[in-house]
């Protein structure tokens, strides 16, 4: 017998005495992440309706395979051997970044794996080794995904800037899609810069802040963002869906883009 029923501990016979709605937060997290996974999986495999001049869905950016629709490949089409949707080539990077993110780890360990479901609520597992063994020891490569997230931040910003063209490719125009992609790029930057690994790399790893005033300043700014990492994780995730869905509707012909000028 282990856990709260282990010999010597106060015998209570229940896994928790909490009577508040402790299950609400993990349930909401589960529903939110589950809906995103369903939507993202469908869209990633669909391989269509991801480009409407001049907007490219963030799920398909950068579009690198020869299957990409004309105009959507800003960085060429170097991959010709890939038989599936072009999104699946690149999705490992943003997916890996979020999967190994310190906030999302908390979120899915609690809501999907019940380890624990909530504080002071006993988990159902017989044994526990945490992140000491394969595959969870791979969570330690989070910083490498962060490096890629920086590259994706640049690419998504570039996509947003390309949105200042009209469907004929002329510059100096703007539509609702441009605003949506700009917000998307900004949120991706904020989420990636608020990352705990970023905080460590920027200055957290130092022993003496006084010897590195610039890095100390950066660490302070990143620390402010880091306090809102959970919020930014959710808002940037939801906005990805908003951006992708808007472009899907445009590409599908369901709606037309609201052009400002």
């Amino acid at each position: 017998m282990t856990g709260v029923s282990a010999p010597g501990r106060a015998r209570l016979g229940v896994r928790t005495l909490r009577e508040d709605r402790w299950w609400l937060a993990p349930l909401a997290t589960f529903v939110g992440l589950f809906l995103f996974v369903v939507y993202a999986t469908f869209r990633a495999f669909q391989g269509a309706y991801y480009y409407f001049e001049p907007y490219l869905s963030p799920f398909y950016s950068p579009c690198l395979t020869t299957d990409c629709v004309p105009g959507s490949s800003d960085f060429g089409q170097p991959i010709s051997w890939w038989p599936l949707s072009p999104a699946l080539v690149i999705l490992i990077f943003p997916l890996g970044f979020r999967l190994t993110c310190y906030y999302y780890r908390k979120a899915y360990y609690r809501s999907f794996w019940f380890s624990p479901p909530a504080c002071a609520v006993a988990e159902p597992h017989r044994s526990y080794t945490g992140e000491t063994r394969f595959p969870l020891i791979l969570q330690n490569i989070h910083r490498y995904f962060w490096y890629f997230a920086m590259i994706f931040g640049v690419i998504l910003s570039y996509d947003a800037i390309l949105g200042f063209r009209n469907p004929q490719g002329q510059w100096g125009h703007m539509g609702l899609g441009t605003v949506i992609l700009l917000i998307n790029a900004a949120l991706i930057w904020l989420y990636a810069l608020s990352c705990h690994s970023c905080r460590h790399i920027m200055g957290g790893k130092l022993k003496h802040f006084s010897r590195h005033p610039r890095r100390y300043w950066m660490w302070q700014q990143i620390s402010k963002l880091n306090g809102r990492h959970m919020l930014l994780a959710w808002v940037s995730l939801i906005w990805l869906v908003v951006a992708d869905f808007y472009i899907t509707l445009l590409a599908h012909g369901t709606i037309s883009d609201l052009r400002f000028f």
């Binding site: 856990g3 209570l12 780890r105 380890s115 002071a120």
Partner: protein, 252 residues
């Protein structure tokens, strides 16, 4: 203004026990510890409870109130509704001695295992000079009152007794971080120690320690995750390893 409140208090010892029902007088401004003391004075003279300062600074009166790890002296009665039954039990991660008193020696064993601050070899006592920016991170961790609520709520040991040998717990990860971030600590093996001896890899950063800390120390964000990242520097990141080899980085 006084009223009567319904309490359920766990009474017993390591051999067994159960929740006992009491109806106790509650006055305005009181905390749960006041009610426990009134119980001792009026209905249960042999009720065991550990307490000292009644000000949230000694860390003695840790227990669980309605299933949540709390300090008895810092839980105001005004946070409960008049008809709410308030359940008070001992901490559930440690062996119970009697009633609300638990044996927290696990924590002292873990504390003893951590190598103490190592003085810099080139400075004599009295010559230590540190800048505020270099010690402010460690100062947050010095706020710890050692109530062990974080140790109690941590599911790694709460739900798995067998992990107690390999896992030190959040209170001692903040000690590890405090020393590793200390500008004058001469030891260079804190990270290896945190990984191999303290079992920091077992923490899955689900943040319950931070949620229950009465001193509001950001245990997970400011100590455990930075320590995990420092362990990655030393153990899992080939680029950092290569950088250290090539550029012979000093004590930055």
């Amino acid at each position: 203004m006084s009223r009567n409140a319904k309490f359920r208090v766990w009474r017993g010892d390591a051999a067994g026990g159960e929740l006992h029902d009491y109806t106790v007088e509650v006055n305005e401004g009181e905390v749960v510890l006041d009610i426990i003391h009134r119980l001792q004075a009026t209905q249960a003279g042999d009720l065991a409870v550990r307490w000292n300062c009644k000000a949230g600074k000694c860390g003695s009166c840790s227990a669980e109130i309605n299933g949540r790890p709390r300090l008895l002296c810092m839980t105001r009665m005004s946070t409960f509704t008049d008809d709410e039954v308030i359940t008070v039990t001992p901490m559930r991660s440690f062996p119970v001695i009697r009633d609300l008193v638990t044996d927290v020696s696990f924590n002292y064993q873990k504390a003893r295992q951590i190598p103490a601050f190592a003085p810099p070899p080139d400075l004599a006592p009295g010559e230590y000079r540190m800048q505020q920016v270099d010690v402010e991170r460690s100062q947050e961790f010095r706020k710890c009152i050692e109530c062990f609520l974080c140790q109690n709520v941590c599911h790694v040991v709460r739900d798995h007794e067998e992990n107690k040998t390999a896992f030190s717990g959040p209170r001692f990860f903040i000690r590890a971080a405090e020393l590793d971030m200390h500008p004058l600590d001469a030891r260079t093996d804190r990270r290896e120690f945190a990984q191999a001896e303290q079992g920091i890899g077992m923490c899955n950063i689900t943040k319950c320690c931070t949620e229950v800390c009465p001193e509001h120390i950001k245990i997970t964000d400011n100590a455990i995750i930075p320590m995990k990242e420092r362990v990655v520097d030393r153990k899992y990141d080939p680029l950092v390893w290569l950088g250290n080899k090539l550029f012979r980085r000093g004590n930055d």
